[in-house]
Symmetry: C2
Subunit: 268 residues, 2 copies
């Protein structure tokens, strides 16, 4: 469900590619989706349909919930604080999506919004803020992060929304990290080139992976020591230019998609 969290850009312009059947509006909903069903929208989504998009009864909307694929729906009724959508037919079945996590030290507001949006477009399945010693931000608005992720998922044609986790301290993240998931550490002190590390596969296939991006001030030396000793951690280098944390986050996700994820498939 769209949250009440205000977004910096209430509706991002730009995703203008028309969708199947000419439907240009996609909404992420919580409700189950099945033919003949009715989905009741809350105040925010109703407002968005009625006052922002100026849609009325009979007009089409695409719905997805992360579980039941994408459905064509029609507006049955729309009022100031609610709207009902009639679910008509499935337009895309649910399918497996790339399984790549992004754990990142939170940064200031505009750039954390941006990170959530871009990581969603780039197909991240989990967004996980991690508090490290040099992290300068001590509070993360996860509802706001989620709202950004929902919006980017709607607009990028995804069938899922990334799982936005509550912030964890680095040690807690390490404790909770699944042993069979490669943790790829963007290590500003050096390491093997990222393309080499992602191609080697070692013991852990890189198809089940997560990246860890430190804060602008870098990881503290004891943090790096701790991380480097973990069996599921692979260090990678992103060259010698200094990258901002948000740039590094997007770079690793794009490279992962190109080498391991679904950008490896031909698409015509």
């Amino acid at each position: 469900m769209r949250t009440d969290t205000p977004l910096a850009h209430p509706r991002l312009p730009g995703y203008t590619a028309p969708m199947k059947d000419g439907i240009e509006t996609r909404l992420y909903v919580d409700a189950p989706l099945a033919a003949g069903g009715v989905v009741a929208l809350g105040q925010d989504q109703a407002h968005y349909l009625k006052n922002v998009l100026r849609l009325g009864p009979g007009e089409g909307v695409a719905l997805f919930n992360g579980r039941d694929g994408e459905w064509r729906a029609e507006i049955a009724s729309v009022a100031k604080k609610s709207a009902d959508l009639a679910v008509i037919e499935q337009t895309r079945p649910q399918r497996a999506e790339p399984d790549v996590w992004l754990a990142f030290a939170p940064i200031k507001r505009a750039r954390i919004d941006f990170t959530a949006q871009k990581a969603t477009e780039l197909g991240a399945s989990v967004l996980w803020p991690v508090m490290t010693r040099h992290t300068m931000v001590d509070r993360v608005n996860t509802e706001r992060l989620r709202a950004n992720a929902v919006e980017a998922a709607e607009q990028s044609d995804r069938l899922t929304v990334p799982d936005v986790r509550e912030p964890a301290k680095l040690e807690a993240l390490i404790e909770a990290w699944p042993a069979d998931r490669a943790l790829i550490l963007a290590d500003e002190t050096g390491g093997p080139p990222i393309a080499e590390a992602l191609s080697m596969h070692r013991e852990r296939p890189m198809t089940r992976a997560g990246f860890l991006i430190g804060p602008e001030g870098g990881f503290a030396e004891p943090e790096l020591d701790r991380l480097r000793k973990l069996p599921f951690v692979t260090r990678v280098s992103l060259g010698e230019r200094l990258l901002r944390a948000d740039t590094a986050a997007l770079a690793v996700l794009a490279i992962w998609q190109a080498l391991v994820g679904d950008w490896t498939a031909r698409h015509d």
Copy 2:
């Protein structure tokens, strides 16, 4: 030289890694750099040193001009509208940097600033706005783009600033494109996976390349036809999720650096 163009963020925070000799301030200047020389700063840079960084005589600054490497300098004098820097010694020689261009249909203000900053961090050597049929922005402030590129170059430890070109219509860009430089078209209608296309090398080595990113509305069909027929154009696909133009620009540069550029070198 720093321009008078105001930046959205007068000084970006975050690049906190201390530089050689503990110098944390880097400035791009036009002047030649050689031992014993004096570099006179204009009003903007003098203001920045004095009032933003609160540096005074005797304090160190790193200088680069894109030709003479990086130099350690000391503030000799600083006044309200000018400052003199004494050039002491070279800290890094000039060296060849990756040769990758980014031609992109301009987008709205905050995101075009962002594109210039991130592309600079990711090592682009040329930034070239291109006007296409569906481009929604009809004026590009190249001075502002240049100011963003200078700032990102200073902060990302580059020894050069990307060459920010004046906007060109797509046809003029095609006419001016060097025949020995691969033009890699991010084609939303499909194409070979980017990693495959960059690895194949074909007739043109991908080490001398430029990416072309269309506007949010995509290229018009006649534009795509024209591009696809050119011998130096390689189409690539970035998967099936819809990417915003700025996301696509950063993704291709990161992938190029990882597979072809200087992120392929080991760095410790």
